[in-house]
């Protein structure tokens, strides 16, 4: 009977206001932040202060790195993304694919590569300036592609009519200026997000000699065994992030919310302009050279002496199953939650803003906060909950919550591009919700779902902190294995593992691209 009633729900529920929307969004955001709440409570109730001199210095350093990464990624990523969106150029697909590689690789891998480059250049040691520059450089590797892609996606939403009109009035230069203005909010959001993400990643700073606030948290946690202090410092970090994130989210989210809402537009074709094309090729090549090829050169350097293929292959075979399981679990859960979030936000501007602000905050928080919270939960909970809180599933779930924003934005964009009239017409003809989801919305959103699953899976594979804290005994992922052995294993083995990983990420990216294109 209940089932029949459910079958009778009309599909227009997806286009009408309803209390389920707010409840769904709040539930998802709460689920994403929930595991961190006990730790934040500890931080708030603890009497001592984390603001020592060292902590203040670390905050300053983090601020310097985050600001530099935000500024530089915007400065280079915006023009690169804009040029890629506007002009056709030789090797477009290859260059854009190469640009994406740093997004799929753990930041510490790039830091290892850069530290090797420093050795080659005789710059192993130096003052804080060298450390700061190297650290910013390491973080720029994923930040630049992030901004460039966000700009590209945003710029591709300019209509042919808009582009032609501006081009007619002022030529390519004016078009570039106007297009840059149009995409600035999205690019700025991506750049700020990239800057914020540097705050919670201790790896590059520690390897390259310019440690910030994430390192201080690590010291409190790993050296001093001081949960309360670590939690307090996490809370301060969260507070600082919120100071930046909330206004940004409030001011920029509405623009982005409108942008990801689908519009029926006649897309501007890629222009064929020899000069602009070569400039684009030059800009993208420079970015790929600096953010991908240079660190890769450093990574492969130790392989010139020997290439321990068999040993590296052994390590990969031991860890690949769990790596894929974590990735797949994270991808599936995040995509399902992302679609739920997209349906809940629907086309209502306020709800889309709420969803975007929520996911922006989720992505801004230090990943260790949720992971530690889950460790605590797993300890307190009864043994029968172990499959949920202390298993490979837990790792996948934590990774899914971490990367939910990616899936949510893709799903919201996909839902936004569907036509509301389909749903309303269906309702008039008595189409039920399940029929509509099965026959219309499902197929329409499938490419986005597959893409979201793929991107989350790849991002989850590159995440180290969460897996380190939550992996069940004996269930390492490949990046965690690299992270674990990199200090004392022979350099050639570490390099071989890194190369295998980068090659695997590139292969998966290519497969994903092909798959997404075929669906």
């Amino acid at each position: 009977m209940g089932n029949e009633e459910q079958q009778m729900i009309s599909c227009d529920v997806l286009e009408k206001p309803g209390w389920w929307r707010e409840i769904s969004l709040v539930t998802i955001i709460f689920l994403s932040l929930g595991p961190a709440l006990p730790l934040l409570w500890v931080a708030v109730t603890e009497a001592s202060s984390p603001l020592t001199g060292g902590f203040a210095l670390a905050v300053w350093r983090s601020f310097v790195v985050a600001t530099a990464v935000t500024g530089l990624s915007l400065l280079a990523g915006l023009p690169a993304g804009l040029l890629s969106a506007m002009y056709d150029f030789p090797g477009r697909r290859i260059l854009l694919a190469l640009l994406a590689i740093p997004l799929l690789v753990p930041s510490f891998l790039w830091a290892i590569g850069l530290s090797q480059v420093r050795i080659v250049l005789g710059l192993q040691s130096g003052g804080p300036w060298l450390g700061a520059i190297s650290t910013v450089f390491a973080f720029l590797a994923p930040a630049l592609p992030l901004v460039a892609y966000m700009t590209l996606v945003s710029a591709r939403r300019l209509s042919k009519g808009q582009v032609d009109a501006v081009r007619l009035v002022g030529g390519e230069r004016l078009l570039f200026v106007y297009a840059a203005r149009a995409v600035l909010p999205s690019a700025l959001l991506a750049a700020i997000l990239a800057g914020i993400l540097t705050l919670s990643d201790p790896g590059p700073g520690q390897i390259l000699g310019y440690s910030g606030i994430a390192y201080e948290i690590l010291v409190s946690f790993s050296a001093s065994y001081d949960f309360a202090l670590a939690a307090q410092q996490c809370a301060v970090l969260t507070g600082l992030v919120l100071v930046v994130a909330v206004p940004v989210a409030i001011f920029i989210a509405p623009r982005v919310a409108v942008e990801i809402l689908g519009r029926e537009i006649n897309l501007a074709p890629l222009a064929r302009n020899a000069c602009a094309s070569w400039i684009t090729v030059g800009v993208l090549s420079c970015i790929v050279l600096l953010t991908t090829l240079l660190p890769l050169t450093g990574i492969v350097r130790p392989l010139f002496g020997e290439f321990p293929v068999a040993r590296a292959f052994g390590e990969i075979s031991r860890t690949i199953r769990d790596t894929l399981l974590y990735a797949l679990t994270a991808g599936v859960i995040a995509t399902a939650m992302g679609i739920w979030m997209a349906l809940a936000a629907g086309r209502e501007r306020q709800l889309r803003r709420l969803a975007l602000v929520g996911v922006f905050l989720v992505l801004s928080l230090p990943p260790s906060l949720n992971a530690l919270g889950m460790v605590e939960l797993g300890t307190i909970a009864p043994a029968w909950l172990d499959p949920l809180l202390r298993s490979r599933f837990t790792v996948g779930l934590a990774l899914a919550l971490r990367f939910l924003p990616v899936a949510a934005v893709l799903a919201m964009r996909s839902f936004g591009s569907t036509s509301p009239s389909q749903c309303l017409v269906g309702a008039v003809h008595g189409v039920t919700l399940s029929q509509f989801l099965h026959r219309v919305l499902g197929p329409a959103m499938l490419p986005a779902a597959v893409t979201a699953c793929m991107v989350v899976a790849l991002e989850a594979t590159a995440e180290v902190g969460t897996v380190l804290l939550l992996r069940p005994p004996g269930a390492d992922s490949i990046p965690v294995q690299i992270f674990t052995v990199m200090a004392n294993a022979p350099e050639a083995l570490v390099a071989a593992l890194c190369i295998f990983y980068v090659a695997g990420a590139a292969l998966l990216l290519t497969l994903g691209w092909i798959l997404a294109a075929r669906i």
């Binding site: 040691s125 690590l218 790993s222 949960f227 180290v464 380190l468 069940p472 005994p473 052995v485 200090a487």
Partner: protein
């Protein structure tokens, strides 16, 4: 969302859930270890081969130290997942004892081991050891000019700006710092660290980094462990090894320590694993590996490139006191020092 609930999707979901939640039914032991994965894993595989018990190894990492393995054990205290903690030094083992996470286990195989390297109450047992050594680059420092004491690194004008040490908040460097504070007293130990700062010491991320920097000539000298020394010599880098303070406070010996975790899920298998670690077979394997650890059992040969424990002048340390001292230092002086020297 019925499209997701097709039979095929349900089957895939079932397989994923099975894959991610199912535990192995075979006999197993869960070992958390702060010993480098490359050295610990072959020993674990040997144990499995011999006993048929699967070892689920959770290694820690030295360089970036973000696993918080010990913290994970502290967090899991009320319902631990680990059966054994195999520590690269006795300080972390002592921390577990102080936190009530260790249980007493006196292995029958420990009878031959020297008592000074184990907990007198039996909460942890020491075996194969490393020593803290000075590495120097032979292209920059002649053998007869090599520093003989760790105190030379803080006072020699010739070494100004040319010395590397790992972050003293972590690993064996933290243990050495605590040992100096216990052995010398607070004031002289602080003076030593201030001397290092004045002499322009470079604080790097790990002992492995010290090894690399000295090997590459970026640092003329540094303090690291004997396994790092073995690695750098094996790589044919121009590096010499000094066992420091032979005529002074002595060379710090850093034994491995093994702990049976209280209320672990497989205590019997945990005991078997500890017994295996304390055999001559394991000590020999660790000595012959790239770790080049120094055996504590009398009849196991020392790696030829290193000196036997019996020929060294050891620094006399009450290992039990180091954990408390280190706890104090990590929150106070050492943390400030590390911040100041984190350049």
């Amino acid at each position: 969302m019925s499209f997701l609930l097709t039979r095929r999707a349900a089957l895939i979901a079932f397989l994923i859930v099975q894959g991610v939640t199912t535990a192995s039914a075979a006999p197993e032991v869960v070992v958390y270890t702060s010993v480098d994965d490359v050295f610990a894993r072959p020993i674990a595989e040997q144990f499995t081969k011999k006993t048929g018990i699967q070892v689920r190894l959770v290694p820690d990492t030295e360089e970036t130290k973000s696993t918080g393995l010990l913290n994970r054990m502290i967090a899991e205290k009320s319902r631990p997942q680990a059966d054994v903690f195999w520590s690269g030094d006795p300080v972390r083992a002592e921390v577990l004892k102080l936190k009530g996470i260790a249980s007493i286990y006196k292995s029958p195989n420990a009878a031959e081991l020297p008592k000074e390297y184990s907990d007198p109450e039996g909460y942890w047992t020491g075996f194969s050891a490393r020593v803290r050594v000075i590495l120097y680059n032979t292209t920059q420092i002649a053998k007869d000019q090599a520093p003989e004491s760790i105190f030379d690194l803080a006072s020699s004008p010739g070494l100004r700006g040319k010395v590397c040490i790992a972050n003293p908040l972590f690993g064996t460097t933290s243990m050495q710092a605590a040992a100096l504070f216990v052995a010398l007293g607070d004031e002289p130990a602080r003076n030593y660290f201030e001397g290092l700062s004045r002499n322009g010491v470079k604080m790097v991320s790990s002992n492995g980094e010290v090894r690399r920097r000295v090997g590459e000539g970026d640092c003329a000298a540094g303090i690291a462990d004997s396994d790092d020394a073995n690695e750098v010599v094996k790589d044919k880098k121009p590096v010499g090894i000094v066992y420091p303070d032979e005529s002074g406070i002595g060379t710090l010996i850093v034994p491995n320590a093994t702990v049976l975790v209280a209320h672990g899920p497989n205590p019997d298998n945990g005991k078997k694993f500890i017994d295996f670690l304390l055999t001559p077979e394991t000590e020999r394997a660790l000595a012959e590996s790239d770790a080049a650890q120094l055996p504590l059992l009398p009849n196991v040969p020392t790696p030829p490139q290193l000196r036997a424990i019996g020929t060294l002048h050891p620094m006399h340390v009450d290992y039990g006191k180091l954990a408390l001292k280190l706890d104090d230092l990590s929150r106070g002086y050492l943390r400030e020092w590390a911040t100041k020297n984190n350049r």
